[in-house]
Amino acid sequence: MRPQSTRSAPNPRGGCAIAVGTEHAPARGNDAGSPAPDQAQLEAARKRAHRRKLSKNWSLFILFAGPNILLILAFIYYPLFSNMYYSTLDWRLGARTATPVGLDNYITFFTSPSGQEVWRVTGIFTLGAVAGSMILGLLIALVLNKRIPGRTAARTAVFSPYVLSGVGVALVWDFIFDPNRGALMHLLAVFGIESPSWKLDADWNLVMVIIVYVWKNLGYCAVVFLAGLQSVPRDLIEAAMIDKAGAVRRFFSIVLPLLTPTVFFLLVTNIIFSMTNAFDILRTMTPTGHGTNTIIFEIYLQSFGQYQRAGYSAAIAVVLFFTLFLITAVQLRYVERKVHYQ
């Protein structure tokens, strides 16, 4: 719509390199020509040199960082602000005209039944995804923390789903969940349980995508937990062993309290990830968003699904951004950075 800011994106490399060269040359000439200067002259020269150095640094800085900064401005910051503008419009994607409606889109999102359904689904998905991957991840990390051969290979295997395409993973699980031909149906039949018809029911749909998300994500939690566990001082645990504290007692009295920063860190990142990273699984397993329209999915469905309500979609995007901003602010405020960045 307003592409001006993006036109400047191409790399200004050539132009700036020349500017640097020409600015450097007269600088030397001036310095060489000044004969035994007094204090004031010296001061002025120093100032001039400083200014030259600064402008030379600026040219270099723009040469090095400019393209990236321009791209970030054009494709991250500009969208952020134009979304705020679009969010005040009643506007269909592709339509030439739009009606300003003030904050109506926001009010609709927070008060309409369909908007509240999005919050409900997002809440359940986030809760299930975060609790599931963190609890299972911690259990796996506790096992991998033992000194047994083969644990490095096991760690690699457990982490691997995290780097795989969400679309591919979702297709595989789609097959596994098939109530008539899927592997899970066969597995449940062994125990005499009939497979639910996952796809037909909105609630089962949500359970299904949570399971797949947890499967993909728990390796990340396990590896971060493992790093946390390995930083628990061994002498503390040995002291507890000498006091004949059992493994369960050791875990709850020593390990878990020392693990609190890791738990908090994972809690925050997992909440953010589950709100932003799940789109490919959701879209592939439940293309219409039946029971699975979390906030990111809703942004997509509203503007690019059947409704084409671009203004409403933009409002949801703005709400999502500020939600994430709030969560990150809490993290920065309350989490000690050194715990994670060493």
């Binding site: 952020l80 709100m275 490919d280």
Partner: protein, 308 residues
């Protein structure tokens, strides 16, 4: 939780003298005692085995099913391995979508996109750390905030921008909006900041400029960190789904994840799961191979980038 109180002595020898090579007979005997072996199996290997099965079996099932003919897919008595292995599923994928073109697009987008992103991340991080200008910290803060903006938020305006630039259904339209890199810049800036200043002093005495300091000193000593950024970028570019889904609707310009999405929408029969699994293999296996070979860098990068 999975550890039981009785397992207390199990790790004792290793704990007390982790590096000693000489082990006393008593300790050895204890380490191989029946009690200890049972403990290790029950609290160590058994849970690991269960975890591994949960992780590996779905992927094994995918690969196996991709070689099964339709009647082995719909059978009520499936076998783990295909009884009559066939590659017809892969041929069927190629029949429905222009497979080689789509694969080529994915490789093109991944290679070009990642190369530019990594280069931009290196130069930006270098500028932020080594080129003194007022306000550099403010710029860094701006990049940190950008790190928090998920692609879904910028999707609609970027769609309008790229469409108006004529980038709809083009590969550059897929690549361009993702090129600005906050993640790589952040990671490399932290790394460059930790480099010892002495490294650069000798070069400065020789009159080396920033370009030489960057490419002859900073980059060579930072290869592991750069590899980490590059690999994480490659993984993300390869798996990227949302943006290519929006900006492309012609099969010849699709990347693999979007091509699979198309495949899924034309294959609705139960018997066609084999074809879908063949498609899934093509998008999953390349990343599995890269991950298996270079997991150290990838894990480091993904677990370090607190806010991706």
């Amino acid at each position: 939780m999975t550890q039981r109180p009785t397992s207390t002595p199990a790790q004792n020898p290793g704990l007390i003298a982790p590096k000693s090579r000489v082990r006393h007979r008593g300790e050895l005997a204890r380490a191989f005692s029946r009690q200890n072996l049972v403990d290790t199996l029950l609290t160590g290997y058994l849970p690991i085995l269960i975890a591994l099965m949960v992780i590996v079996l779905p992927l094994a099932w995918m690969i196996s099913s991709s070689f099964k003919p339709p009647h082995e897919i719909i059978t009520l008595n499936p076998t783990l391995l295909p009884q009559e292995p066939t590659t017809e599923n892969y041929a069927a994928v190629a029949d429905r979508v222009p497979l080689l073109t789509v694969l080529g697009n994915s490789i093109y987008v991944t290679v070009i996109g990642s190369s530019i992103k990594v280069l931009l991340a290196i130069t930006t991080a270098y500028a932020l750390v080594f080129i003194r200008v007022p306000g550099a910290n403010l710029i860094f803060l701006g990049i940190l905030v950008a790190l928090m903006v998920p692609p879904e938020v910028s999707m609609l305006p970027n769609y309008l921008t790229i469409t108006s630039l004529g980038g709809y259904n083009t590969l550059w339209g897929i690549i361009l909006p993702g090129l600005g890199t906050a993640f790589g810049t952040f990671l490399l800036r932290q790394h460059f900041k930790a480099l010892p200043k002495e490294l650069f002093e000798a070069a400065e005495l020789d009159g080396a400029g920033h370009l030489r300091k960057l490419f002859q000193i900073a980059v060579p000593v930072s290869m592991p960190a750069i590899a980490t950024v590059a690999l994480v970028t490659v993984v993300n570019e390869w798996n990227n789904f949302l943006w290519p889904l929006i900006i492309v609707d012609r099969a010849e310009k699709m990347t693999l994840p979007v091509g699979l999405n198309l495949l899924q929408s034309v294959e609705q029969l139960t018997s066609s799961y084999g074809i879908l699994m063949a498609g899934a293999v093509m998008v999953i296996v390349p990343m599995l191979v890269i991950f298996a070979m270079l997991q150290r860098y990838i894990v480091a990068g993904l677990t370090q980038g607190a806010v991706k």
